[in-house]
Symmetry: C2
Subunit: 361 residues, 2 copies
Amino acid sequence: MIYHIRSDARSIEDRAHALVVEQSVEMPISAIDDDSVLAEIVGRVLSVTDLGSGLFEVRTALATETVGDDAGQLINMLFGNSSIHDDVVLHDVELPGALVRKFGGPRHGLDELRLRAGAGKRALTCSALKPQGVPVKKLADLARRFAEGGIDYIKDDHGLADQTYSPFAARVEAVAGALGAVRQASGRTTRYVPSLSGDLDCMRRQLAVARQAGIDTVMFAPMIMGFSNFHRLVRENPAVALMAHPTMAGAARIAPPLLIGKLFRLFGADAVIFPNHGGRFGYSPEICRALARAALQDWAGLQPSVPVPAGGMTPERVPEMLDFYGADIMLLIGGGLLAARERLTEETAAFVAAVHGHRYE
Amino acid sequence: MIYHIRSDARSIEDRAHALVVEQSVEMPISAIDDDSVLAEIVGRVLSVTDLGSGLFEVRTALATETVGDDAGQLINMLFGNSSIHDDVVLHDVELPGALVRKFGGPRHGLDELRLRAGAGKRALTCSALKPQGVPVKKLADLARRFAEGGIDYIKDDHGLADQTYSPFAARVEAVAGALGAVRQASGRTTRYVPSLSGDLDCMRRQLAVARQAGIDTVMFAPMIMGFSNFHRLVRENPAVALMAHPTMAGAARIAPPLLIGKLFRLFGADAVIFPNHGGRFGYSPEICRALARAALQDWAGLQPSVPVPAGGMTPERVPEMLDFYGADIMLLIGGGLLAARERLTEETAAFVAAVHGHRYE
C-alpha cells in the first residue's frame, strides 16, 4: 500500500507506524501477547520517502489474510479508519496477483464493449438520459434521437432511480422499445445502460427487468451500493457488462486513479466513468491520464476497463480528447448534446462522425 | 440542505447555482424544455451567507420526489457528484418530517440499549475484541474477562470479518458461550456485538447465525455496506439493535455530526460509534458535542441513537468524558483496557466502577 501523508520530518516515522497499526490490529502493540499476530498480522512500514513540501510517501505491507476475499473488507483494511484522518491519502495499492485474480476484474471490458457496438478499434460514444423529472415517454424520445444520430451507448443520468415520474421498469421498457424501433428501421444498434439503485435485492429485481427487455449493460454506483454488493452483482451476472459511476467517490482522499481506475476495475467494472479535466470537476490532466492508464494497463491478466471521461464535455472537445486519451476510450457527452434541443439527432450525428473520423496525431 | 463552500464573494452566486444544478438535473438549464422540471425538480438556492475567511453557507432546496424512499438515493441526491468537488462540504440537512418518519430511525435506541443492560439512567460501557489474527478461543477468553469485569457491551474490532483465523460463526459461538458461562456463574449480563461484513446476503447469513446464538445486537459499517443495504437490514430485523461503525466515513467532506449523528441515526442505527476528541482522530470537542447532540435530539419523533465516543480512549478519561457528554452515552474503551493484559478483568471492573459511580458536575 502507498499512502501520502502530510507531516514534518520529525514525526513521520511515528505517524507511519501509527497508520499501519490503525489499519491492522488497531490497538497498542504493547498489549499484544500473541507472537504470530506480531509477526504476521501487524502491518509493516516498508519505506518512507520525503516528497518535499511536507508530503511523505509511506509504503506499507498488510497481511492478505486480513482481507479474505471480500471487496468491502479490502477497502476496510486499506483505508477504513484512516479515511477519518485528514492528513493521509490512500495513493496506490499493490496486490498479490492471486488476490487480483480472485476478485477477477471486468468480465467484458474494452474488447467486448467495442465488439457489441461493432466499433472495431475506434473510440466508443455515449450520452445520457436526463433531466430528472421528465416522464418516461420523453426519455424514450431522447433515446430515439440519440440512436438516430448513431451513438453507441446511452446511459441513465445517475440521478434516475425508481422515482414516480419515471419508474425503472416503465423506463426500461419504453427506452428499449424506442431503440428497438430504430434498429428495425435503420439497422443501427444503440445500447441502453440503465442505472440500478436501492439495496442488493432491489438491484437484482431491476436487473431481471432489464434482462427481460434484452439489455446486457447496466450502470451502478460502487460508492453508494458498497464494494461487496457491487462484487456480488458482478459474480452473479457474467453476461452483463457493468459501467461504474463515480457519484459519492469524494475522491479527494483516495487517489482517483486508484479508486476509479484500479479498484472499480478490480471488482469487475467493464467501464468506469470519471470527471474529465477542464469540465465541471477539478481533476487535472495528469490525474485523468493516470486514471485511464490504470483502467487499461496490464494487471495480473485482468481485462481492461473502458475509461469514460465525462462531466461537462462538449462535441467541440472531441478531437482534443481523442488525441489526449487515444482510441481506447468511451466518450460520454450528455448535457452538451441535450443543449441542441430540437437538433439533438444532428448534433449527435456530428459527435459520432467526429469520433469515427478522427485522425490521431 | 446546507453546504459550506470555499469561494470568493464574486463567484459564490454562480457556484451555488452550479451546485443545485449538479445535485438535481445535472445538465444545462437552457437545455431543459419541460416547465414542470424547471419549476419543481431543479434545485433552488434559498440563501447565501458569508461566514468569513472565504467560506460561504449555501442553503438549498431539493424536490423530495427525486429521493423516493431509498437511503442510497438520498445520499446520491444530497452529495453524489458534489462529493468530487473539493471546495464543498455537506454541512447539514433538513428533511420533511414525513420523510424522516418514512426512514424511521432507531428501533431501540438509547432507552432499549440501557434497558437490556439493566443500566437505569447511567452511561453504558463497552469494549472491543481485538487484535485481528488471534484465534477464536483467545477472543472468547478476552470476552469472558471483560464480562467478569462487569462491562455492558463487547463489540468486535471492525477489522474482524470472516477471516480464517477467527471465522464469524465459530467466533460467535465461542464468545456467546463464554458470556453465557459468566451469566450462569455470576448473574452478570454482557452483550456481544459481532461485526457483520460482506454483501447483503452474507450479512443476512451472519445475522441468522448470531440470532441462533441468542445475540440481539450487531455492528456494521454503513459506508462500506452502502446506505440502502444498511436500511434494508434495519427493516428486516426489528428485534435486533444495530451499532454503526464509522470506518470509511472519511468525514472530512461530510460534516461528522450530519453523517454519523444524523444520517446513520435516520436509517436506524441504535448506537453510533465516533472518534472522541483527544484520541487517535482529529475531531474537535465542538464536533463531538454536536455529533452527540444530533444523535440524541428530538427529531420528528425518532428514537435517540446512543452516542459512542471511542478511538484511543483510556480509563483515566472516564470522568472528564462523562462530564463532557453527560450520561446519555456509551463509553467504548478497547486497546486502553487490553493494555492491562493479565489484569484485564480488574481494569475493566475499575472502568465499570468509574462509570457507575460517577457524580456529574
